[in-house]
């Protein structure tokens, strides 16, 4: 099973992946993916040195799949670490409008009613 190193960057805690030339990259697709355990242990040694140099914390090996050049961890926890929360992080408007709670004359009331009509159809 292909493996790679995931860690948190010390300075800001962001998730990073060990990439070629001992770089740490926030993009999983830039990370080094290796196929055998001996190579994986070598990556872990490099990562431990980066811990000693105060670049990253808690590096671990994770299993990944590579499809069409895209890397994806096999465990959901690491998928979420790699790609971020599955819920919005910037509070864009995703709330469901509700019928019957808007003050009269509030334009959102009309929007809610319209959404609800469409839903019923």
């Amino acid at each position: 099973m292909p493996q790679m190193i995931i860690a948190n960057r010390l300075v800001d805690g962001r998730v990073v992946f060990l990439a070629p030339e001992e770089r740490w990259d926030t993009a999983i697709d830039h990370g080094s993916v290796v196929d055998d355990d001996a190579e994986a242990q070598q990556l872990l040694e490099v990562a431990k040195q980066a811990v000693a140099r105060c670049l990253v914390i808690d590096p671990i090996l994770i299993q990944v799949k590579v499809e069409n050049g895209k890397v994806r961890p096999t465990e959901i926890r690491e998928v979420i670490r790699a790609f971020g929360p599955t819920v919005r992080t910037d509070m864009e408007d995703v709330a469901v409008p509700i019928v019957g709670i808007a003050p009269e004359g509030d334009r959102r009331a009309e929007g809610a009613a319209r959404v609800n009509r469409n839903a019923k159809e």
């Binding site: 010390l10 140099r53 808690d58 959901i76 819920v87 709330a95 019928v99 709670i101």
Partner: protein, 554 residues
């Protein structure tokens, strides 16, 4: 509310400066992570899945509009523009950078806010009733005693390295809105036979991996003995707590293993030695703290119920909000308003910096500049003139903070879960969003009535799933997320732990299962009977049958 004196302000500023030096040494490589971790945790800074998380105390859930604006400033400057109010009346920031954390801590300190003791094996933020000081059913303001305990336990050298964390909650009302029975120590104010107000003391409650309802260790405690008695409980725990096993280190394990009578005996022995010592609280000290919680300058007003009723008859939307989110105040002419952070589809407890500022402005204009945080992850404006309710409602609606669902099925408690938390096994927020979207018809919710759904992404139970009428626990089953339902939990004055309904369900099946539970309740309930009461009367079987089918029910 409590204001820092010169000593408090200087001390907290010094601690912020000390934290800055610690971070600098860590970044320079002078401290290893093992050396640094306990130092950052003492300042409430965790490392989560995507970044550092800063947990900031809101003592007993009370904050000023100025402090709320500081929360907004921190969200905007050091985070991604939002914050998350938690079940411990705290706020958490999810995207803090280590290099900027000292600035955030310093800015918070300038508004008399700290993150000290929001983590670690010490006495954590002392929580209380979000309506404290204003509730009609209250005997006395519990915050006076929360503040007394806060000052006592803040950086107490004997109790800074307890076997495990320690949570205390206080209620001044017989109707418990502070979930005191599921805390390490729960304090319930009540009157003794002579009519004096004191505390029933509960000990050994808690959720997590091994949930327990707290047991009464003392039926009535005179307020002057609050510190000596709490100290006796803490001292016995500190000596006997299981430091060898983190899963058995909470006080609830000791109390339940040795039995409440034996624990009481040990505490009483300790208490006898110290109860008339220097920690006995003089009346003057209680009066000194009480002065900080003096009621605001209420106007002399009359209740305007008939006027409001007439308005509600002509405007159903206003009526829904009044019925949903407004409760009686102890002072005539005023009302308590819950600001819902539970719009369907939103993340329970999350609020943007802009909305924090807006709520601070509303607090200044309508509620003496004070805001409360509830352990159910809503905000509260406690002192609103009844005559201002309609205008406040309009303004809250424009901010999407007027969902009239307090205590209803979509007023969901939810921990950050696997979307943020390093301890979680499964996501919690998407489940809350699915359920709240599926139950967004307010008239239906109000017909269903009082219903709590509490969701945790792991057995640590930050989402209080054991005490939800419906509890939902996310588990990892061979790499996939499943959700176990419990029924019949409650954290009020009749606290109970939920019973497991059956095997875990995949996420997609959870809203449907909730629908079946609701339908079964409506089928079996008697007129006016709440879900929890129906459940206690009919038991789990009908619900099992409806969710899993008749065959698996037995």
């Amino acid at each position: 509310m409590y204001r820092y004196d010169e000593f408090d302000a200087k001390f907290v500023a010094e601690r912020a400066a000390q934290f800055r030096r610690q971070v600098k040494r860590r970044l320079a490589g002078e401290l290893t992570e093992d050396q640094f971790r306990p130092l950052r945790l003492m300042n409430g800074l965790y490392l989560q899945l995507h970044a550092y998380m800063l947990r900031v105390n809101v003592p007993y859930g009370t904050l000023s509009s100025k402090q709320m604006r500081t929360f907004a400033h921190v969200a905007r400057t050091y985070d991604k523009g939002f914050g998350h109010f938690t079940t411990r009346q705290n706020i958490q920031y999810n995207w803090i950078k280590l290099e900027e954390a000292p600035d955030a801590v310093k800015d918070l300190a300038s508004s008399e806010i700290t993150s000290i003791q929001s983590s670690g094996n010490c006495v954590r933020n002392i929580t209380s009733d979000q309506y404290a000081g204003c509730a009609k059913d209250e005997l006395a303001d519990p915050r006076i005693y929360c503040e007394l305990l806060r000052q006592y336990s803040f950086l107490h050298p004997e109790f800074s390295y307890l076997p495990r964390k320690f949570k205390i909650a206080v209620t001044g009302s017989p109707n418990d809105r502070a979930a005191v029975a599921v805390h390490d120590i729960g304090l319930r104010m009540h009157k003794n036979e002579q009519g004096e107000i004191g505390f029933e003391v509960l000990v050994g409650g808690g959720l997590g991996r091994t949930p327990y309802i707290g047991q009464t260790i003392r039926k009535w405690l005179h307020p002057s003995h609050l510190l000596t008695y709490v100290e006796a409980i803490l001292r016995v725990y500190n000596m006997l707590g299981r430091r060898d096993n983190i899963h058995k280190a909470r006080i609830k394990i000791i109390v339940n293993q040795m039995g409440i009578d034996k624990y009481r005996e040990l505490v009483d022995k300790e208490f006898e030695l110290t109860k008339n010592g220097q920690l006995k609280v003089p009346d003057e000290e209680i009066a000194r703290i009480k002065a900080y919680f003096a009621p605001p300058k209420y106007e002399t007003l009359k209740d305007i119920g008939p006027e409001l009723d007439a308005r509600r008859k002509t405007d159903r939307a206003f009526d829904r909000w009044m019925r949903g989110n407004v409760v009686e105040h102890k002072v005539p002419g005023y009302a308590i308003v819950t600001v819902s952070l539970k719009a369907p589809g939103r993340v329970p407890g999350d609020i943007t910096a802009d909305k924090m500022d807006a709520v601070a402005d509303l607090a200044d204009r309508y509620s003496f500049g004070e805001i409360r945080v509830s352990h159910r992850q809503n905000l509260v404006l406690t002192d609103v003139k009844q005559g201002d309710l309609e205008q406040l409602w309009r303004e809250l609606f424009a901010l999407e903070l007027a969902t009239p669902n307090l205590g209803l099925l979509s007023d969901i408690i939810c921990c950050p879960g696997l979307d943020y938390c390093a301890l979680a096994n499964a996501r919690a927020i998407p489940i809350a969003q699915d359920i709240s979207r599926a139950f967004s018809d307010i008239d239906e919710l109000q017909r269903i009535g009082n219903f709590t759904i509490n969701i945790s992404g792991c057995m640590n139970a930050c989402g209080h799933h054991h005490v939800g009428h419906i509890g939902i626990l996310g588990v990892d089953k061979r790499g996939e997320e499943f959700f176990q339902l419990t029924l019949g939990g409650s954290s009020d004055q009749n606290a109970s732990l939920g019973d497991r309904l059956g095997p875990g369900l995949p996420q997609a099946e959870v809203p449907g299962a909730i629908r079946k539970i609701v339908d079964t309740y409506l089928e079996h309930s008697e007129p006016g009977e709440r879900f929890i009461d129906t459940y206690r009367r009919v038991g789990i079987e009908p619900f099992k049958a409806s969710v899993y089918g008749a065959e698996t029910a037995h």
